[in-house]
Symmetry: C2
């Protein structure tokens, strides 16, 4: 058959939704490749925009910019100009090779922020969709990649929360071999930040890749990892619930009100009932980033016999407005009870430029003044996924 | 605390990846809402692009255009112009209310096709990422929505294919209540089209919503549904395998070569081993769209004792080039053997304007000439997801 005929068939098989894109993809000679990871690990970005006046690249791999905010100076990702080449194709290549890591970017065309039309790999990070790519290689690059190692199963599972009055969705990772054994496993409950959901750690957090790779290397014990949704007013991530394809919003009525924390045993009971878990404190861990660190702090002290391993990643330590709930009463008294039971691990990690740094210093003062045992990990950088992926990779080997 | 301080905290909690977008989302007064489903089910699309000269909307809800291709005249989705309003905000409202359905669209800004920056709900359909929205309401709208009904579990599971020499990923839907029972279930194997993967039916195909809703209504028997990956050279969907964040390609070496079809029992055996299935022909169905219909046709006749229910949705009936494999030898002889065993259902569905319509007419002639029993469903429209979602909704109630 002719190429055109084959192309037509492929086009139609391929592009059931908006076929006209198929033509462009198949028959446009000027189709560009972007991003292109070059052999030396520099990366070239391209956009075909013949009528654009200015095309810029926004990326978390570019030198940070500092901006003033009501909370003081903050670092934000850098921006770079693309240069127009022939045929209206704009291009930018990073001046230096990029270190192995998982990166995010987007374009700005004459002030309009857009995703890269040539990259199908986009991830929603709360209210923003970013294009992503990975530089493979030793360390983060290999750790965050899907490699040819045994893979765990990732499931989207619904449970009924009587206390919150909702069917709610969670993600569950079961380790390689779970299906073929009768073995019981320890469980880590891994919590997201404000505006996140049950998908966040598994998408931009690369959690299943990290788990598969560290379990395969023998550095991490096979475990079940549960990713609940920490927005107690919501069923699920945006678009996965009966509220339809909603816009993520900053108006989150029940994220730090105590209700989620108080109802947490429903999640543990559901997992213990439906999965082959070891149902003891010694075999349970809880950790979270930002708001999820706040949740981990409060849940673990409110239920001091439930979790033996606690991880606070860039944790939001305290409320910035008065919220009354039994979960939040007498924090120091509850901490005293929790610490008297000598948890196997209480791990606190934060970046030097994190806006929550000072709050964490104050929290550690309380722990120090009371001679409580904990491990402190201070990293470079701020409140971002690069740190949270790294913290998870360092936290997992210490469990169980 | 001040709003600004709260906003800063939320911004940082929210936008770990590219914080600068948070500023825009939180502090830009001119942030637009798009798409906006209006009370009368007209839909308004907006884009803020002050420097744009022409902004267009490409959508599968606009009147189709006809184009000439090497295969003859084809229908492609329509296009409409947005009108510039104040402050460089472009807008288009559909002249008529849209019928309840799941829709795809994108913008074209001065010839550059982009996704809607205001819509986080984007789905990859093979090589293209489209923005999506749903019009709820009787029929398709409700059927394709997540409703407050019991939900099944959707898992991403890896199996080892000895015949194909790869670890390969599949999706598995287990019905509501599966975890809490010891009951065994029948199994549907649901196959994707060329360029699709184990995610396609669950994403743009709305398969888990359709299953949850029809099972809840009592119209469909609870069943396990398995979504394998039909590209025998690949481990998984793009980005989920050890080949990294690859671009989807039209160069698919092992999609219609017989290898996938011949190796299919590995998938059935894996499912029968790891799930509570009813391991009989009477409790197994296989169906697929386009290339998946081709696979269903050939797998079901090559293994005539495996599947009692067969569904061909807009099926690619034949090769357009000579490919030799035992699976494809003596098609009519194998069909005779399969049909002599009187399958419980042989269902063929296609749209009147589908480019594969004639091939299906020719295939039905073979069935008719031999007086084989089958049910034929002819719909309006062509080779698209709107038909495939509808075919699935009609096929499921006939099973088991």
């Amino acid at each position: 058959m002719s190429f055109n005929k084959l192309a037509s068939i492929i086009a139609l098989c391929f592009y059931g939704c908006l076929y006209s894109m198929a033509q462009q993809a198949l028959w446009s000679a000027a189709d560009v490749v972007s991003p292109q990871v070059n052999p030396d690990n520099t990366v070239t970005f391209r956009l075909k925009a013949p009528k654009a006046v200015k095309v810029q690249l926004l990326g978390d791999f570019l030198p940070n910019r500092k901006i003033d905010t009501p909370m003081g100076t903050m670092e934000i990702p850098g921006i770079a100009d693309l240069t127009e080449k022939d045929e209206g194709i704009w291009e930018f290549t990073t001046p230096e090779p990029l270190a192995p890591e998982f990166y995010c970017y987007s374009f700005v065309v004459d002030g309009l922020k857009i995703n890269d039309p040539s990259n199908v790999h986009k991830l929603r990070d709360t209210g923003t969709v970013n294009d992503v790519f990975i530089i493979k290689g030793e360390g983060a690059g290999d750790l965050y990649s899907v490699n040819d190692v045994p893979h765990g199963t990732v499931s989207k599972v619904w449970y009924n929360s009587e206390k919150l009055g909702l069917q709610r969705r969670m993600s569950v990772y079961t380790p390689p071999g779970y299906e073929n054994s009768s073995r019981r496993y320890p469980v880590l409950y891994l919590l997201h930040g404000m505006g996140g959901d049950e998908n966040a750690w598994l998408e931009i957090g690369c959690a299943s890749q990290i788990l598969d790779n560290l379990i395969a290397s023998g550095k991490v014990k096979p475990m079940i990892v549960v990713f609940p949704n920490g927005n107690a007013a919501l069923e699920s991530a945006p678009g996965a619930g009966s509220n339809g394809l909603i816009r993520p919003t900053t108006a989150l009525p029940k994220t730090m009100t105590g209700e989620y924390e108080a109802a947490f045993p429903e999640i543990v009971n559901f997992i213990d009932k439906n999965y082959r878990t070891i149902k003891t404190k010694k075999s349970r861990a809880i950790a979270g980033l930002s708001m999820g660190g706040f949740h981990s702090l409060h849940i673990s002290k409110y239920y001091p016999d439930m979790f033996d391993y606690i991880g606070l990643f860039s944790a939001a330590i305290k409320h910035y407005e008065k919220i009354t709930h039994p979960v939040y009463d007498d924090v120091e008294g509850k901490l005293a009870i929790q610490m008297a039971k000598s948890p196997a691990l209480y791990w606190i990690a934060i970046g030097k430029t994190d806006f929550l740094y000072t709050a964490n210093v104050e929290f550690r003062k309380i722990l120090d003044n009371n001679h409580y045992n904990y491990i402190y990990r201070e990293s470079e950088g701020g409140h971002n996924w690069r740190n949270w992926r790294m913290y998870l990779s360092e936290f997992l080997p210490m469990l169980f």
